[in-house]
């Protein structure tokens, strides 16, 4: 097995030169440029394509004193043993005039391959033909105004006043560091933004000479900021007569809270290219053993401020920026009562919507609402940060009918106008039909056979009342409305109580006394005197004389508080009356009138005694 493998490797190695020899017949080299006429501010892209050559190959560029030459890329593609290698170079013109790029040669398989010479015309800016000007504008940073082009050819000067703040800051910083071969600068578009206001941060790496291999980049550290990368670009700037290529990375940053916010330095590690005209193979290994160098950008401090509280609408959730749009949509506009409708509210615009608060839905008549669920994202677009926020919620209509989801407000603060603006969604109409789902436990289809030919099919509510209620207030209800009646009754009771408390003699007692006196005044017989006395004692002392012997009557009177002297007088009088009634012969000369007078006197004394 091992022998077979070794034989295969040997055969393959023998075949390689044969294949190379075959390939020699198909080797070719071509060169092309992207434009034939440029200005001093433009750059020229030279593409060298080698077809059919394999291994470590590198074209030999001719001397080009009219250009600064930088290699940009190297791509090798293999398709079915056919190899195409492409080299790209950036040529920066140094002098105006007509110049020629000489033949580019390739040494391969003991043969030399050459390209045809290429002619290029380099114009000054003023000489720039219309076509060349148009092409040139497509190659440089179009955000740089035309006035900058003029200043670029001069020695360092301050950036023009009409330049945007960010570009101006970058320009001025770069101009100050223009004596170095490699340097980095960073600048922001606004150093005192509002919370959540998007500020553009640009970090540029300038190099006047190429560097070996790749240069690892470290993004700046941030504090109290939210940062999103929004794009990368390359450009060229002439500082103090020296041409620099720069790579720019842009970020959108926004302050999280009020107060200071910091952007730390970004950095790049690179290995400077010290030798020229190195082959690809050499370039791959030339950086080995060399110590990489580091450049850092400057730090930046921001001072974030709060949006004004004056006139701040309730529908403001923290968005600061411009060009926002809001829309609302539902997944269906006809539902049954109790079924859910999905409501989606989408907000688009410039700036970062991620840190803004969630939309709060107002109470909607006829709907049960739930909290919204928010998703957000950012979309870098042409060096700007565009973002969106989508709120989703569920609305459940309580009853059937036609409803309208009202226009939902959403406010943002416009930092340019320094005022709040409110935008609205369109109102949405919803038709809610009655629910066709029977509630659990509510059986309209029960079929109970109750016998006698009667089968209950279900239950339903009873029919409407066709008239208004005719039941006027009943007598009792009317009485119930007369609260004064209760007060009157209670007042009557209180009066009776007061009357009873202030005069201990009851009306019955008074009546009994008066009656007894009247009887005694007109007494014609001892029985009348006895009756009057009995009636009085019954009411006054609650003693019933009719059925009791004298001894018990006396005892009862004493128990009911009658004074002892009055009791003894009563005892004597009662004996006299009994004697007169039952033994009139033995009476000791006292007549009826005298006994009546004694009884009257006793009653009067009892009244007095009772009051004591």
């Amino acid at each position: 097995m091992r022998k077979l493998f070794l034989l295969f490797v040997y055969l393959w190695m023998c075949l390689l030169p044969a294949q190379a020899a075959l390939d020699l017949n198909g080797v070719s080299i071509t060169a092309s440029i992207d434009k034939a006429a440029i200005t001093l501010e433009d750059e020229l892209m030279l593409t060298v394509t080698i077809d059919g050559a394999a291994g470590d190959i590198a074209p030999q560029l001719p001397s080009m004193p009219a250009f600064n030459v930088y290699q940009r890329s190297f791509v090798q593609q293999t398709n079915n043993f056919h190899i195409i290698t492409t080299f790209q170079y950036v040529l920066l013109p140094r002098f105006p005039g007509k110049t020629t790029i000489g033949p580019i040669t390739l040494e391969y398989g003991r043969k030399t391959y050459k390209t045809d010479p290429i002619s290029v015309t380099v114009y000054r800016s003023a000489q720039q033909p219309a076509q060349a000007n148009t092409q040139a504008q497509g190659m440089v940073d179009t955000s740089i105004p035309s006035s900058l082009r003029e200043t670029q050819t001069q020695k360092f000067a301050q950036a023009p006043a009409d330049m945007p703040t960010l570009e101006k800051n970058l320009y001025n910083r770069a101009a100050r560091l223009g004596n170095k071969e490699y340097f980095m600068v960073a600048a922001v578009s606004n150093a005192a933004p509002y919370i959540n206001q998007t500020v553009t941060l640009a970090v540029r790496f300038y190099y006047a000479r190429p560097f070996m291999g790749t240069a690892p980049y470290t993004a700046p550290a941030i504090n109290n900021l939210f940062m999103e990368e929004i794009g990368r670009s390359e450009g060229r700037q002439i500082i103090d007569g020296k041409t620099y290529i720069y790579t720019e990375i842009r970020y959108a940053v926004s302050a999280v809270t009020k107060g200071p916010a910091n952007i730390g330095p970004a950095s790049i590690k690179y290995v400077p290219e010290t030798r020229v005209n190195l082959s690809m193979f050499d370039k791959m290994f030339a950086s080995m053993g060399q110590e990489p160098q580091t450049v850092q950008s400057n730090s930046i401090s921001l001072q974030a401020k709060e949006v004004p509280s004056l006139n701040r609408p309730k529908s403001f959730y923290g968005a600061v920026g411009r060009g926002y749009t809001v829309s609302a949509a539902i997944d269906r506009d006809e539902v049954e009562a109790g079924d859910a409708i999905n409501l989606t509210v989408k907000i688009n615009g410039n700036g970062n919507l991620k840190p803004t608060s969630d939309l709060k839905l107002p109470a909607m008549a006829g709907f049960k609402t739930y909290d919204v669920v928010a998703t957000s994202g950012v979309v870098p677009s042409n060096g700007e940060l565009k973002s969106y926020k989508i709120f989703k919620t569920v609305l459940v209509p309580s009853a059937s009918g036609k409803y309208t989801i009202p226009a939902l407000p959403w406010s943002f603060f416009d930092p340019m106008l320094r005022e709040y603006r409110t935008i609205y969604t369109e109102p949405i109409n919803v038709t809610v039909t009655p629910s066709t789902q029977a509630d659990a436990g509510f059986d309209f289809s029960s079929q109970q056979d109750l016998g006698n030919g009667f089968r209950q099919l279900g239950k339903d509510i009873l029919y409407l009342k066709s008239t208004l209620s005719t039941n006027k207030d009943s007598f009792l209800a009317k009485i119930g409305g007369m609260n004064w009646l209760a007060y009157l009754a209670l007042a009557f009771l209180i009066l009776c109580g007061i009357f009873a408390l202030t005069d201990k003699k009851t009306w019955a007692q008074k009546h009994a006394l008066a009656k007894a006196k009247a009887q005694l005044k007109n007494a014609y017989h001892e029985d009348v005197i006895s009756d009057a006395l009995s009636t009085y004692l019954q009411v006054r002392y609650h003693v019933h004389t009719a059925s009791l012997p004298l001894r018990d009557i006396v005892s009862e009177l004493k128990q009911h508080g009658c004074p002892a002297i009055l009791v003894s007088r009563f005892e004597m009088l009662w004996q006299k009356l009994n004697a007169a009634r039952f033994a009139p012969v033995d009476i000791q000369g006292e007549g009826t009138h005298e006994l009546a007078a004694q009884a009257l006197e006793l009653i009067n004394d009892m009244e007095k005694g009772g009051q004591k």
């Binding site: 309580s398 009853a399 029919y463 208004l468 209620s469 009792l476 119930g480 009851t506």
Partner: protein, 239 residues
């Protein structure tokens, strides 16, 4: 002169005939299945006759047919409070309560006793209590002044206490802050906010006793279950 006479009699005419006509129109809409339109008509009438039990009953019917059992129950309950002897109102209220797992007549209580308890309105009960109070005060006064009719005074006092208790009980039921779950389902949470965990889902039509209120949340006790918790105000219909 004719104008003056017409202007004098027009309000009387409107009062007498327009409600009947509106009731007929609303009933026609109801029969045609246009329950939402009928509901609107009945609610308009309710503005002029705010204590009419028949209007509440009809509104309850409309809500029931529109599939909103919670709002139907709330309106039947209002009608029942105004006219507790009405058999139709009692029937519909019992039916919707039963469908939601609630009971109009508490378990173990004879229906006859429940009907007797609700045989009078609270106002009628109050009037009856006043009458007995009046009788008692008279008899007590007679007893105080003449020491007569003491027995009748005692009997009237006993009746008065009985009626007073009855009235107090009914009045406390009337004053009890009740609500119905109006949303298809409501979440019962342990605190007044969505950050508190939900302990139960309460279906529409359940009777709730309101206990407290904070912001847009109400503390309630689910009457049939005895569970206490917080529900969002817009999920409820207060009776």
């Amino acid at each position: 002169m004719k104008k003056y006479i017409l202007s004098l009699f027009l309000p009387l005419f409107c009062t007498l005939f327009l409600p009947a006509e509106s009731m007929q129109q609303a009933e026609q809409m109801y029969r045609e299945g246009r329950f939402a339109a009928a509901l609107g008509a009945y609610e308009n009438l309710l503005k002029n006759y705010p204590n009419d039990p028949h209007l509440y009953y009809n509104i309850g019917n409309c809500y029931f047919k529109m599939g909103s059992r919670g709002l139907a129950t709330a309106n039947y309950y209002r009608a029942f409070r105004l006219a507790p002897r009405d058999a139709d109102i009692r029937h519909n209220l019992a039916l919707v309560l039963e469908s939601g797992g609630e009971r109009l007549v508490p378990a173990g209580m004879p229906v006859v006793l429940h009907k007797a308890f609700f045989s009078l309105t609270v106002l009628e009960l109050k009037g009856l209590t006043f009458l007995v109070l009046f009788v008692f005060c008279f008899l007590a006064g007679v007893w105080l002044c003449r020491r007569k009719a003491g027995l009748w005074a005692c009997v009237s006092l006993a009746v008065l206490l009985l009626l007073g208790s009855w009235y107090a009980w009914r009045n406390s039921l009337l004053k009890q802050p009740l609500a119905i779950v109006a949303a298809p389902t409501a979440e019962l949470r342990s605190g007044p906010g969505k950050n508190f965990p939900a302990s139960a889902n309460v279906a529409q039509g359940h009777l709730l006793i309101l206990q407290d209120s904070k912001d847009n949340w109400d503390e309630v006790v689910v009457k049939s279950q005895g569970i206490k918790g917080w529900i969002e105000t817009h999920d409820l219909e207060k009776i």
